[in-house]
């Protein structure tokens, strides 16, 4: 078949052409070459993280100025997916530091031996209870609270007090008002479930959810949908004529509503039911097998430095983890302080999570 040979050669030429073209297409993409320059004396430190990570460019530049290392970011999906990819590539990691494992997933990361122990400089300043590993394999970076948010206007119009606690949500006055997320796929959904477990105990949570279901809780798949489509207090929800004035979201959502409204309102359109909160802490760690360990350690130090910590709230809408970091005004003015968030020990979560989620799923969704 001489024709096919001819085809093959044309094809090869064409394919080569493509690769050359492809090279041109990405020539303005400076980071494409970074893979080649990750030697031991490398000046690049790679931070692997999830999609929600965000920092000011100036702050990252300051790190470069102080330490001489440039940060390269790699984002790979949501928190669960990003962590699992690291576990899969254990031993030949794609970067040096991983940020974004929270207390609900921490045990999985530690059991898989993802991290090299390192005690970051200034670790003594972190809030009590955020350090979960005495070997310092992970460093806490931020905390956030998952709480029920309410639509202020709805409750004012109805002359009804918004719910405050998990117990309140069962009252007939709040029938058919709450929307939450699928605990199997969404981290606020899981956080809310864990909050109910912390408040009702492992024996009582199923009964609680049965009653919550009887009181008309609606479950949708993810936070975006719950918040933007179903919750009447959000901008998207107002446009969509949403009819649920209670949603499981974050304690930081009201200040964010203010921040991204134009013009800025005098008060936040939404409030937080402070008795329904579950505390999340996010950690970072030095990846085992990191090509640039020195850079990774410097980056971990930097993640809990005052500079980075004060940059966290307005970029990721979570709270700093060190005592000496000041909250931005918009948080102090429009946010609500959560005094007693619910928590569940990481090892307990690791041991029971799947079974909890399974039984929640068959109780509430099916």
């Amino acid at each position: 078949m001489s024709t096919t040979k001819k085809y093959a050669s044309t094809a090869l030429a064409a394919a080569l052409g493509v690769t050359v073209l492809a090279g041109c297409g990405g020539s303005d993409d400076t980071s494409a070459r970074s893979g080649a320059s990750k030697g031991s004396g490398s000046k690049t430190v790679t931070l692997v993280t999830h999609d929600s990570f965000n920092a000011s460019e100036d702050v990252l530049k300051q790190f470069t100025k102080e330490s001489g290392y440039t940060v390269q970011l790699l984002k790979s999906g949501d928190a669960g997916a990003a962590l699992n990819q690291e576990i899969l590539t254990k031993g030949s990691p794609r970067g040096d530091v991983f940020f974004g494992v929270d207390n609900t997933l921490l045990s999985r990361a530690l059991d898989n031996g993802l991290f090299t122990a390192y005690e970051a400089k200034g670790l003594d300043r972190v809030l009590e209870g955020t350090e979960q590993d005495d070997k310092h394999r992970v460093t806490p970076v931020d905390t956030g609270d998952i709480c029920v948010n309410y639509d202020k206007k709805f409750f004012a119009d109805k002359k009804l007090a918004p719910p405050r606690t998990f117990e309140d949500l069962l009252k007939p006055a709040y029938k058919n008002l709450l929307v939450t997320e699928n605990a199997a796929t969404s981290s606020p959904g899981l956080g809310f479930l864990l909050g109910t477990i912390a408040s009702r105990g492992e024996d009582g949570y199923q009964d609680y959810w049965k009653r919550l279901k009887a009181n008309g809780v609606k479950v949708v798949d993810g936070w975006e949908q719950a918040y933007n489509e179903e919750f009447s207090g959000s901008a998207g929800g107002r446009k969509a004529k949403a009819d649920r004035p209670l949603v499981v979201s974050y304690a930081s959502s009201p200040p964010v509503e203010v921040l991204y409204a134009d013009p800025q309102p005098k008060e936040a359109p939404t409030g937080v039911s402070t008795g329904t909160c579950f505390r999340q802490t996010e950690y970072a760690g030095l990846l085992k097998g990191a090509k640039n360990e020195a850079g990774g350690k410097a980056l971990l130090d930097f993640l809990i430095s005052k500079t980075f910590q004060e940059d966290v709230p307005l970029n990721m809408f979570v709270n700093p983890v060190v005592k000496d970091a000041k909250l931005p005004e918009i948080f102090t003015e429009f946010g609500e302080k959560v005094d007693k968030p619910a928590t569940v020990a990481p090892e307990k979560i690791a041991a029971n999570r799947e079974q909890w989620v399974q039984s929640w799923h068959s109780l509430v969704v099916k």
């Binding site: 965000n54 790699l74 984002k75 796929t185 489509e229 964010v256």
Partner: protein, 537 residues
Amino acid sequence: MAVPVAFFAVFFAYPVSAIVGRGLKTDGVWQFGRIGDVLSRPDILDVLWFTTWQALASTALTLLIALPGAYVFARFDFPGKQVLRAVVTVPFVLPTVVVGTAFLALLGRGGFLDELWGVRLDTTVWAILLAHVFFNYAVVVRTVGGLWSQLDPRQEEAARVLGAGRFAAWRRVTLPALGPAVAAAALMVFLFTFTSFGVVQILGGPAYSTLEVEVYRQTAQLLDLPTAAVLTMVQFVAVGAILALHAVTVRRRERALKLVDPAQTSRRPRGAGQWALLGGVLLTALLLILLPLGVLVERSFDGPEGYGFGYYEALQSAGGTGSTFLVPPLEAVGNSLRYAFVATLIALVVGGLAAAALTRRAGRVVRGFDALLMLPLGVSAVTVGFGFLITLDKPPLDLRTSWILVPLAQALVGVPFVVRTMLPVLRAVDDRLREAAAVLGASPLRAWREVDLPLVRRAVLVAAGFAFAVSLGEFGATVFIARPDNPTLPVAVARLLGRSGELNYGQAMALSTILMLVCAASLLLLERIRTDRSGEF
């Protein structure tokens, strides 16, 4: 033949088998017992059943609604036809997050239907089915319509002259000729809906789950690789069975057709019946496709102070916030177009070669290869993505953090389109034409250029349009291949939707509108490409 085979071996077969192997092997021993364990779980069986029947129903409904559309686009001339053809392809590139939003606005509470008749379809199967039609309308219109416009109407006329009734003539002449293209379109729609992910999650709510959703959960969230591996294999088997069925029904029917220039076959509608058909099709397209798109556009202009360009202006200043979160929309457009361009090239080269090889030869090996090319449509993005992670991690192929991975992954999905749209046309080219050219002294390449190329040019453009659209809207691979510094449009939209606040929501809608425009404009350009018309016939 060698290039496509190598491409598939390295970027598909190897990663997928590695990740499946990791799930089914412990200490190097295959644990096939796990297959039985997983398949005896009632929840998994539920998922399997739902996945299959909703895909069948979606495919049937899509064909029912889109085949008249294919006819109208092939045979009638009407003002705005080119634009409309591009517009109906737009849904194909929209991220499901955005489509879900639009459909909720129409079918959900306070939506269009709710206002009119008090009907709410969200969290019902109907919403899922309608969204699937919305997504796949263009697949049928373009693949079937592409061939239909090149069928010679005179053949049908000849049958009429010989005494066949209108319907009989259509059934005996046109339908058999169209069969392969219809089957190919149905196959693609089925594969798409079988592996549906976002639509099912958003419109169906957590009560509905497809295999694809389950694979994602088991892999990305629970890291339960054994279960994920079994489910992936189930997907393989299901897709394989469908492909086999397709092969059996189509192979016997493919034969040389007399193809003509599409410009000669379309004309203005004549008579009340034809106008009614045209009107009906346009109305369907309007309700089903333009309405949801319109909702998004409307929301992008609906700012806090009434209608205006507020959100678009906010997008412009996005680059100035000094954070790593957003890039200016123009930059995201540039990224998307660059990726799409490279992905289309790869898909055209690999797919074109494969199609050429498949036309030239027959036999089991080739048929097996044909089926293999379709498999990426039936395997979840997360399986491929995680497979890449554990296989492409050593030099010379340490591509895990390289940008080229994105277009490569997108081309995997694009190739089947290219093959499916080109193959019916290539197979329809009469071999005697090639032989005649050879007899007259043309080299094989020259013969191909003079005989095949003019005939398949239209198919190539259609295929390129698909590959481009797939790449523009593709979201799965882009998520796993981490390049935050140059996000594509869908990624930027998803980032905005992931935050609370009015400006973010509005900007997400504005960016979706830009995505639609970019897509429609690219497709229009492709429609307009007219290479040298040496092949007039």
